[in-house]
Amino acid sequence: MKNCFFYIVLSFCFSGLVCGQSISTSPYSMYGLGSVYDSDFGGIPGIGSSGLALPSSNFINNLNPASLGFMNQNHFLFYVGGKTIFTTFQNNELKESRNTMQFSHLAFAFPISKKSALSLALKPYSSSSFKISNLELPILDSQNYYTLNVLGSGGLNDLDFSYGYRVSSKWAVGFTGTFLFGTTTENREYYVANSVTAIAKESYFNGFRATVGTQIKIDSTLTLAATLKVPSQIKVSKVQSVATSNSTGDSTVATDEASDSDDYFLPFEFGVGISKVFKQKFNLTADYQRSFWTATNQSDSYGDFVNQNHFAVGLSYQKAQRSWNYWDQLRYSVGGNYNSGYLEINGNKVNDAALSLGVSFPLENNFSAINLSYSYGQRGRIGDGLVKENYHKISLNISLDGIWFLKRKID
């Protein structure tokens, strides 16, 4: 246990560093809290990010805290993951590619009794990284135009504390408390007539969100699950500096002036999921989630929000959990998801669809594994003032089992 705490402390120090460096650019990320990451653990990215009903018996299931109720005794799980994303942006006229690389999560899970377990996870929640160059916009009440440059950076982090409790051998419940915190900065330059005005804005976010979940094992192959996320408020405070420069010289209009900012609201969400094992080799998972964004009644300064539907389905195959042949132990997975999008721009929803493939390489004779998955997806579309993002995502997650650790230490 002593060693575990040592690793926790060390890892969080390390992750703070990595978080600060993570970058992901998207033109959609100037809205709301930015573009939300999917930073799923273990093999979940390979099965289309589905898996509300998967138990945390041999891995940490970040989708449903109730899964921790089924965690095996005498294991300490440590997860770390990263992602590389190749994105192509395309609109009617242009096409451009960008590559980004980011840290995706760091997590621990450990049982605290025969019937319950805790997990702690740190991951990036969203990124607000975007750039706009030489955008011409109309000046109100005139025929003239001004030019705008914007550089956005920063994002929110997510710190999760989850607890799962097995009520009976077939039923578990769980709770996750999520702290969202972070800073975004946005530097705007307005070229109006013969003047340049620079507005540098820093927004600080913090909020708490609660998730409750449950999993019910109907029989040894079928599990049902549900989660509820309660609506929550992300407090926003903003300071900005404004400086102008024109033919009459330079002046500072405001320096780090606190300005009114509308708080951000996360909606009520519910999800249901199913997991079914066939022939002891195949595992089918399917989830549906709905997010009630419309009811959040956000200020239009964050964009227009609409209710979002999210479907995910996945299938994994593993020939045998234990075998003398290493190749038989590999778990192959395939999945897909569709998300109708919560953002409406110019009356068009920004939807997102992706297909995924994955493979898990077990390490030694415990729950340690390396999970490699690839997904291809599209977000938005060409035309209607939207941009189409084609992305190829490679996720690499390392799951380490505490037993494995101990062995290494003894070496």
């Binding site: 970058i23 033109p27 959609y28 100037m30 990263g82 590389t84 942006f89 609109n91 451009e96 960008r98 590559n99 980004t100 690389m101 975007f130 750039k131 706009i132 160059s133 030489n134 955008l135 916009l137 109309p138 000046i139 109100l140 009440d141 440059n149 914007v150 550089l151 307005y190 109006v192 007539a193 013969n194 003047s195 005005t197 900005q240 404004v242 102008t244 024109n246 033919s247 009459t248 010289g249 330079d250 002046s251 209009v253 405001a254 002036e257 300005s259 009114d260 721009i345 110019n346 920004v350 390489f361 390490l363 390396i370 490699l372 003032g385 939207l386 941009v387 490679i394 690499l396 390392i398």
Partner: protein
């Protein structure tokens, strides 16, 4: 083994990826960008124009003798009278050789006396017309009426002898000739010469006691131009030394060595003009009462004032907002200028309180004065002739100011104290040549 390979792969994948520089060409929902920060153009803010009259304009120490009078079709008759004190630049008030004996002194004989006025190239009006000036002796000491103040103003006056020492008519040739030679009354010249010769005058005090100064007064019979002369103009006493058969001509010169003792009294008769009823200097005449025009005439102290009475209402546009740029285009009134009355290249701008008390020039953030600059001298339809005055900084500061006191702008012509130029400007309501104020406002 697999572990190691995969870990190497992980490192390899992450290391291989470099973020490509984002060119920033993809934007979704540009309307959204306009929501938080609005850029608004405002063309309708009221700018009031008025004409004011500075009753006292410092005209001493301007290094110019300004003399003449002319009738302006718009501004009425303008007249400049120039007063100055004379002295010998090296303090030598002797005639001939100071060591000469009395008998030698008898050999010095007065010839003539003249005022040599040297053109300084400045003129205004029609120099093809004859101008007549009278030269008089000043009868009181050349010093300001108010002992607290060492300066003379355009309305200062000193008593002078009604008897003229000379009446001189000439057609000014300011750019072709160097000077004019005004022969003065010989009785005056001889009397001065004798006092110098007899050593009754040996120093500056004795000289200025006898000849306190001179004043050049334009004769009202002719009224066509005003001409500038510089301070190296001289009073010359010509005399000769007779010895044996030889005759030697000698000149004794007196100049305006002290520029503070020279000033021009510039007065105008605006009877019959649109601005004949200009109020006292702390008040102003609205352009509504002067044909929707504002007037500037240097020398006489007529200036144009511009105010923005409703500026603070811009604070209601948004909780946080600022003027990012503004330009005031002030247009000279059609037919008010011509080759004979050319437009000045720029206008000087001062900031003043509501009693026309000037706090200084309008400056940029580096304290360099801002001028209203003429776009072009003339064009066919006079559409694009205007003075452009950038006002971004001024309006921004006025808007941010907490107090209710409002500052106005006063426009004059550069060299306001030593020239005669004039301009007529249209206000916001004049049918042609409207003044235009364009403001760019940004909310944040």
């Amino acid at each position: 083994m697999y572990k190691i390979i995969l870990l190497l792969l992980l490192v390899g994948v992450f290391a291989a990826c470099e973020t490509v520089a984002d060119a920033g060409v993809f934007v979704v929902g540009s309307d959204y960008l306009s929501v938080n920060n609005k850029v608004i153009q405002i063309d309708t803010l009221t700018a009031n124009m008025a004409t004011i009259n500075f009753d006292s304009l410092v005209t001493s120490e301007q290094n110019r003798i300004l003399i003449g009078n002319y009738d302006d079709p718009i501004f009425g008759r303008l007249k400049s009278v120039s007063y100055f004190q004379l002295s010998n630049s090296v303090g030598d008030y002797s005639v001939g050789n100071t060591s000469a004996s009395d008998t030698e002194y008898l050999n010095y004989v007065y010839d003539s006396i003249a005022l040599v006025l040297k053109y300084d190239d400045y003129y205004f009006g029609d120099t093809t017309k004859v101008q007549t000036i009278d030269v008089h002796r000043i009868l009181e000491k050349v010093k300001p009426a108010n002992s607290e103040d060492s300066r003379f103003y355009n309305n200062s006056s000193l008593a002078y002898d009604s008897k003229s020492l000379a009446t001189y008519s000439y057609k000014p040739r300011p750019t072709e000739k160097d000077s004019i030679h005004v022969r003065l009354d010989d009785a005056f010249g001889e009397a001065l010469f004798l006092r110098l010769k007899n050593r009754e005058i040996t120093n500056f005090d004795e000289f200025t006691e006898y000849l306190k100064g001179m004043v050049l007064v334009p004769n009202s019979t002719n009224s066509s131009n005003i001409v500038g002369f510089n301070l190296s103009s001289e009073l010359r006493v010509y005399y000769s030394k007779y010895q044996s058969d030889a005759e030697e001509s000698i000149v004794k010169s007196f100049t305006i060595a002290d520029a503070t003792k020279q000033y021009n009294a510039i007065s105008s008769d605006k009877t019959g003009t649109l601005i004949q009823d200009l109020p006292i200097s702390s008040s102003s005449l609205s352009s509504n009462l002067s044909g929707n025009k504002g007037f500037i005439q240097s020398g006489s102290g007529v200036a144009c004032r511009i105010d923005f009475p409703t500026l603070k209402e811009m604070n209601y546009i948004a909780e946080n907002g600022t003027v990012v740029d503004a330009v005031l285009k002030i247009k000279p009134v059609k037919n008010s200028y011509s080759d004979a009355y050319p437009l000045p290249d720029s206008l000087q701008v001062y900031v003043a309180d509501n009693l026309n008390r000037i706090s200084g020039t309008l400056n940029d953030s580096k304290d360099i004065p801002i001028y209203a600059v003429l776009s072009q001298k003339k064009d066919e339809f006079n559409e694009n002739v205007y003075y452009a005055l950038p006002l971004g900084g001024f309006l921004q500061k006025e808007l941010l100011k907490q107090s209710d006191s409002r500052k106005g702008l006063i426009l004059t012509i550069p060299n306001y104290n030593k020239e005669i130029n004039r301009v007529v400007l249209g206000d916001q309501n004049l049918y042609d040549n409207k003044m235009e104020l364009q403001i760019f406002y940004l909310t944040y």
